[in-house]
């Protein structure tokens, strides 16, 4: 057993250094600018354009709360590509083609992630839910019908963050009397690790989106929430759900799993895109292990899904959305049998990373390696040294013995 673990360590060290190198190769600096595109007088019509310029390529993230909150990820092979918006067409009934990138044809890869609905259900009888019978669901909150505050004031150019904050306009039950649902966006210029939990490792080719529920009153005593996330993949590509399990939970204590949606590799070797998250949420602005909320994901549903409108995905992808584009949906639920964390704290925050390229992977920290080597090595060294001492002592005793004759 000990030999196996000692072979493991040099292997892990090698893996760690190789992954660091790979990370460096892909995670060079990008020049990032955030811009809230002014459009109409309606404050709900928010369009945030994040432009990350690298070497010979540009990543455009287009965040919007027009319709359902959506993010478009566009990868172009030009450093001077620019986003163009036709506002009248965008806000009309048929927005197809209202958003495009100039020069045309420079977009090599595009994908979209749409947050469509927030479900609320009675979590007391969770076993019934997993069997699929008698889902005790309350009427869902349709994020497309929310009214959002202007994102302009929330743009922070130094921290590269912005926040979309919204309430349900219909709000029959008065749940949004004091509460809001927000999406906080953080862009990154280079690779690194987040400070606050869940301390996601990011590259320069990624952005973080944080889904926050603040003081939305639950409609039952043991309410649990579920977020529906829809991905759009173009030109016949697919997104696959992967579960990456690791023995290392150093950066997110007690969480050993990272779930990710990765697009399948294509013939033209354009890097995949990913949408990854750690299977945990937190119940406080100061996220810590004590207020962790269990986060579980359900299988990816791909069959016959159509994207409910409106959304800027329709504006960019146009009429092809139904035909050549592949749409998949996944439900992410928050809360488990471990208690009513949301009911007590009234706050829920879940972070996910959206990016281009190979999804980043955590590696061991040098401190852990050092401790293991020292701790496991010392007794062995001591045993060897002690055996040598005993052997010498025995030989000395024997050599001092003089035979009688």
């Amino acid at each position: 057993m000990l030999e196996g673990s000692r072979l493991l360590l040099p292997g892990l060290w090698l893996l760690a250094s190789v992954s660091c190198l790979l990370g460096d190769a892909a995670g060079y600096r990008r020049k990032v600018t955030l811009q809230s595109i002014p459009g109409s007088n309606s404050s709900s019509a928010n369009l945030l354009h994040v432009r990350a310029v690298g070497r010979n390529n540009t990543l455009h993230y287009v965040w919007s709360s027009i319709g359902a909150p959506t993010v478009l990820l566009l990868y172009t092979r030009s450093e001077s590509s620019a986003l163009r918006v036709n506002w009248t067409k965008l806000l009309s009934a048929s927005p197809a083609g209202a958003i495009w990138v100039e020069p045309p044809g420079s977009v090599v890869y595009s994908t979209a992630v749409v947050f469509t609905k927030v479900f609320e259900y009675n979590g007391a009888n969770v076993s019934a839910l997993s069997k699929g019978q008698e889902e005790p669901f309350y009427p869902p909150y349709d994020l497309a019908g929310f009214s959002w505050q202007s994102v302009n004031h929330t743009v922070n150019q130094t921290a590269l963050t912005a926040k979309f904050q919204g309430v349900d306009t219909s709000d029959p039950g008065g749940a949004f009397h004091n509460g809001t649902i927000s999406f906080q966006v953080t862009a990154y210029e280079q690779g690194g690790r987040d400070g606050p939990l869940p301390r996601l490792l990011h590259t320069a080719n990624s952005s973080k989106v944080e889904f926050i529920m603040d003081n939305v009153a639950p409609r039952g005593n043991s309410s649990r929430f579920m977020l529906e996330v829809v991905t759009v993949e173009e030109k016949g590509g697919h997104k696959r759900l992967q579960s990456v399990r690791s023995i290392d939970d150093e950066y997110t204590p007690t969480i050993f799993e990272m779930a990710q949606l990765v697009s399948e590799p294509r013939n033209d070797s354009i890097g995949p895109s990913f949408f990854q998250w750690k299977t945990t949420a937190y119940g406080s602005r100061e996220a810590s292990r004590e207020n962790a909320i269990r986060c579980r994901y359900h299988p990816l549903q791909t069959a016959n899904w159509t994207l409910p409108g409106p959304s800027i995905a329709h504006a960019y992808f146009g009429e092809g959305l139904g035909r050549s584009h592949h749409i998949a949906a996944i439900n992410i639920s928050f809360g488990g049998e471990d208690g009513e964390v949301y009911a007590e704290k009234g706050y829920l925050s879940w972070s996910a990373l959206l990016g281009f390229g190979t999804p980043p992977k955590d590696a061991f920290s040098p401190l852990v390696m050092a401790i293991v080597v020292v701790a496991l090595g010392t007794p062995v060294v001591l045993l060897l040294a002690g055996s040598l001492v005993v052997l010498f002592a025995r030989r000395k005793r024997h050599s001092q013995y003089e035979p009688i004759n």
Binding site: I247, D249, E250, T254, F256, I371, L383, G386
Partner: protein, 382 residues
């Protein structure tokens, strides 16, 4: 009279000392039993009347009584069984304690729900009643202590006549006379238990999150260590009695525990294997380690030695438990397991050093049972 090979005067002095130890042990044992019973009642009363401070006071003094009870128990066991089935007795002691813990963990929840049905409400009064019912077992413990005291007094009368109150006084400063072997045994004890009990305390979430166990499965695997040690401790005690070589057994136990922690930390192998190994190692260590104290310490210092061992074990557990919680919150389970492995390695270093110290000073800790029996027969024949 024991030790009849010695001169009559020394024999008398030894008798006095042994007698004084016996009286001390008997008194202390009964007092602590009474202490424990009274304080369980105080704890339960605190719960009944919703006075948390009373519960805390009860627990605080319960701690004083309960642990010292263990010391008195150890001293009793040695005074009755040294040179005979000491390892088996320690194994049985541990086994009984673990059966008690297991029964407690499984039954108390059920009793609580029954009382809840009876009273029709949850809350402090239900808790108080449940704890009172638990307190009944303390009374049973007290009755056993009184019976033991009577048996001990009877043994005194049969074996040796009561002499006058001369003889050496037992001093706390005997601590400075402890040999290097004893200090190494203390280190082994502290470092080993510090890597087992806090781990079991924090382990449930580990099994739920890393190995995707359900809540019940995680509780079950957590308690497997105690469930295994209940039947295995007497078996191992018997084995160590028959074979001797205590230090080698301790080394096996420590290495097995280290292997188990490494498996849990660095692999996704079925954790039942690691936890069963941990349970077996834990039982083996208890049977082989505690009797070693009786071999390195003279009889009149035995109580002090065991008391000291218990006390630093508990101090170590308290400090490490707090440290473990902090490490878990800030750095997660991998780091915690590495930390526990480091503690076990410290224990392993102490075992290795103990082996060499014992070997080089010609000590008798690692003698096989046959050798010990032979020397005893030789001593009795003279």
């Amino acid at each position: 009279c024991p030790d009849s090979s010695l001169l009559p005067e020394t024999c008398t002095a030894l008798k006095h000392r042994a007698h004084r130890v016996r009286i001390w042990v008997v008194k202390i044992c009964s007092v602590f039993c009474l202490n424990v019973t009274i304080l369980q009642v105080i704890f339960a009363t605190g719960a009944l009347f919703n006075a948390f401070w009373l519960m805390e006071a009860g627990r605080f003094v319960f701690g004083i009584g309960g642990e010292s009870l263990a010391v008195a128990q150890n001293a009793y066991a040695v005074s009755w069984f040294k040179g005979k089935e000491l390892n088996l007795v320690f194994g049985l002691q541990l086994s009984m304690a673990r059966i008690g813990s297991t029964v407690n963990m499984n039954i108390m929840g059920w009793i609580y729900s029954r009382v809840q049905d009876l009273l029709g409400s949850t809350g402090h009064s239900t808790l108080g009643f449940t704890l009172m019912i638990g307190g009944v077992t303390c009374i049973f413990s007290l009755i056993c202590a009184l019976i033991l005291a009577y048996l001990d007094k009877r043994a005194e009368k049969i074996l040796c006549k009561e002499q006058g109150k001369t003889g050496e006084v037992i001093k706390l400063t005997d601590v400075k006379d402890f040999s290097l072997s004893l200090w190494l045994i203390f280190i082994i004890c502290v470092c080993y238990y510090a890597a087992v009990f806090p781990f079991i305390g924090l382990g449930k979430v580990f099994f739920i999150e890393k190995f995707k166990f359900s809540s019940q499965e995680a509780s079950a695997i957590n308690s497997i260590v105690y469930i295994i040690s209940a039947p295995m401790s007497p078996v191992f005690g018997f084995l160590v009695d028959k074979l001797g070589r205590n230090i080698i057994w301790v080394m096996f136990a420590v290495v097995a525990t280290l292997a188990s922690h490494v498996m849990l930390a660095f692999t996704f192998w079925n954790p039942w294997i690691a936890m069963c190994m941990l349970g077996v190692a834990y039982s083996l260590l208890a049977c082989a380690l505690w009797p070693m104290v009786a071999f390195v310490v003279p009889e009149h210092q035995l109580g002090t030695a065991y008391g000291f061992m218990q006390s630093i074990q508990n101090l170590g557990l308290a400090i490490i438990a707090i440290a473990a919680g902090t490490i878990l919150d800030s750095r997660g389970y991998l780091f915690l397991e590495v930390f526990f492995s480091a503690c076990i390695c410290l224990s392993l270093i102490a075992v290795v050093m103990l082996y060499f110290v014992n070997h080089l000073t010609g000590g008798d800790l690692n003698w096989s049972a046959k050798k010990r029996e032979k020397l005893q027969k030789l001593a009795a024949a003279e």
